[in-house]
């Protein structure tokens, strides 16, 4: 009853094409952001920031990046972890070699490096499609894994291959407490989500979607497949690269190449599938699901009073993940975002059935 757009007339093109055309949506989003920025830092516990919110936000960002490539442009990638790694290690090298660089500049430059490599590995997509391409992106994954594990220059000759991020500092202020880290990541995620949301509804996003739906037909109607595919790879790897840098600097602090192995790529792919292919909101929902599920699974046996070893829990986690993915694909191939949309549609009509 509250959620109804009756009487909201659009009198200008601008108001018709705005990001959230329905007033209630706008109020909700603004309210949510005010809560996230203004209230959350004061009421959240350290555990909440450290274990849930920060990883959730960073992985959402990476999922948005991957969703642009897989969900919007239809190019399946199993190499997301590699692009995160490139972001992380470029940020590390920039921070170590140019100590005075601003943190935001470091992250954006890290994204640029990731973009370059991403576009490079995107070139095969012009020739090969579908599964062939998915396997080809694995080449990026394994090559990058090897590169950072073996070439000592990238890890600044650290003997163990482990590297640590320098202390985070922005305009003279340290970013140390969990709440500060949360705010820092949140700001990044909001900006990039906004950019991504606008990109996908603009001309470039439409060219991606046309390419996804049928690339030959898209070419026939005048979309340049090279531009569409390479720009999707570039934008996607930029966002994923920034997410990788954030993951390494803000969440992990110190890391080794294993942090970005092929399992990370799969994890992100699962987020995108469960959340919803071709949906920015879905990236958030999927990330939330994948971050919270293992925590729940860890707690559950304790609540039920069944003692289980950690190894057993991790195996069961695998099973639950696998089963859930199949379940989602069968029940709702378009993911949690679709369920959300259906719910909203129902809410508009409530209390009437039609």
């Amino acid at each position: 009853m509250i959620y109804r757009e009756t009487g909201q007339f659009k009198t200008t093109y601008a108001s018709d094409q705005q990001l959230f055309p329905i007033l209630q949506d706008r109020i909700f989003v603004v309210g949510f952001l005010v809560f996230a920025f203004g209230v959350m830092p004061f009421i959240g516990s350290e555990y909440l920031f450290r274990a849930i919110l920060v990883p959730f936000l960073i992985l959402s960002l990476a999922a948005i990046g991957l969703n642009i490539l897989v969900g919007y442009c239809g190019q399946v990638s199993l190499g997301t972890g590699a692009f995160m790694a490139i972001g992380a290690y470029s940020a590390y090298n920039l921070a170590v070699r140019i100590p005075d660089l601003n943190l935001i500049v470091i992250f954006l430059l890290a994204g640029m490096f990731s973009t370059i490599v991403g576009a490079l590995f995107g070139i095969p997509s012009l020739r090969i499609k579908g599964f062939y391409l998915a396997v080809a992106t694995l080449a990026a994954q394994f090559f990058v894994d090897w590169l950072f594990a073996r070439v000592k220059w990238f890890t600044n000759d650290s003997s163990s291959g482990n590297v640590s991020a320098p202390p985070l500092e922005l305009f003279g202020y340290g970013i140390d407490s969990p709440a500060q880290r949360y705010l820092f990541v949140l700001a990044f995620v909001c900006v990039f989500a906004l950019v991504a949301r606008n990109l996908v509804r603009g001309a470039i996003g439409r060219s991606w979607m046309a390419t996804r739906d049928m690339d030959v037909a898209a070419e026939v109607i005048g979309i340049r497949p090279m531009m569409a595919k390479l720009s999707a790879f570039a934008v996607s790897s930029f966002i994923v690269g920034v997410a990788g840098a954030l993951w390494a600097f803000v969440y992990l602090g110190s890391w080794e190449p294993l942090a970005f192995d092929v399992n990370r790529s799969f994890q992100l792919l699962f987020m995108v599938i469960i959340g919803g292919l071709g949906s920015i909101l879905g990236s958030f929902l999927g990330a939330a699901f994948i971050v919270i599920l293992p925590l729940m699974l860890n707690q559950l046996p304790g609540w039920l009073g069944i003692p289980l070893s950690t190894a057993m829990i991790s195996h069961i986690e695998f099973m639950v993940f696998g089963a859930l993915i199949v379940f989602f694909l069968i029940v709702e191939p378009r993911g949690l975002a679709r369920l959300w949309a259906v719910g909203k549609e129902k809410l508009r009509l409530w209390p009437f059935p039609h």
Binding site: R127, K129, D215, A217, E317, M319, G322, V326, L329
Partner: protein, 329 residues
Amino acid sequence: MNAATSRNLTIAFFVLLAAGALSPMVVGSTKFPQWLEVVLGGLMSGVLYSLVAIGLVLIFKASGVFNFAQGAMVLFAALSLVRLMEKMPFLVALAVTIAIMVGVAWLIERLVLRKLVNQDPIVLFMATLGIAYFLDGLGQTVWGSDIYTLHVGMPKEPKILFENTFEGGILVSMEDVYAAVIAAALVALLALFFQKTSTGRALRAVADDHQAAQSIGIPLNRIWVIVWSVAGLVALVAGVIWGSKLGVQFSLQLVALKALPVVILGGFTSIPGAIIGGLIIGLGEKISEVYLGPMLGGGIENWFAYVLALVFLLFRPEGLFGERHIDRV
């Protein structure tokens, strides 16, 4: 790129590959017997990659599903066998494992594939990713996650051949030779099954055209169960051979990932492609690791196969023997 350029580039690719494989001998960094050992070692591991790849190709041909779970099936089959062998004699354990793999195939068809008929291939692919995770978890939950040694009576000690021809002879692992023989027998058996039995003919019909096959009365669901069972059995054979070589452990699953460049190199729809692709990948990987690896810091085995396949795809996107893909709007 037209067909002729593609063919010429393919030939050039193989000439280069052969030149690369022969070069260590030409520049004199190695002697012929040592080189031959490396080549044989590469070919043997190539045979094992082929075994996993054949399972992938079988399923892809019959149901159009790119089965990412093949590696997980290898691990699951090997784990089941090794744990069952602790409790019962080998042949009984083998029979029970076969029954388990058929059961898995039936469940996959019943619970997953049947519900996803007519979905995009990419959705089916992702479903097999889910199956892979599930099988990994299930295998380790039920059977445990330690490293198990598997003894199925394959000789472990290497043998020296051609002692009279070359100085020092060639060191060959008899285990690898057995593996190659088993793999060859399996391939021959599969070929017979596909060519001579009516089920095999039905499988080929389904592979050609689902709808046409269904319209002449071939039961799709049963065919899928059969094909996944066969893939499960191939996975079992691969699991036994890999398992007795490396021990049954979680990393078997990662070895199976190597089958992916093999199938894209050979072409998704071709069993000969899977075999030849496997040999090329195995050979290329071993030679590059032994002769190129030290220059690059070692460990290049992990990515060389993928990069090799990627480069090859650039001028031959359908792989070596794959069907040329024609897009229609």
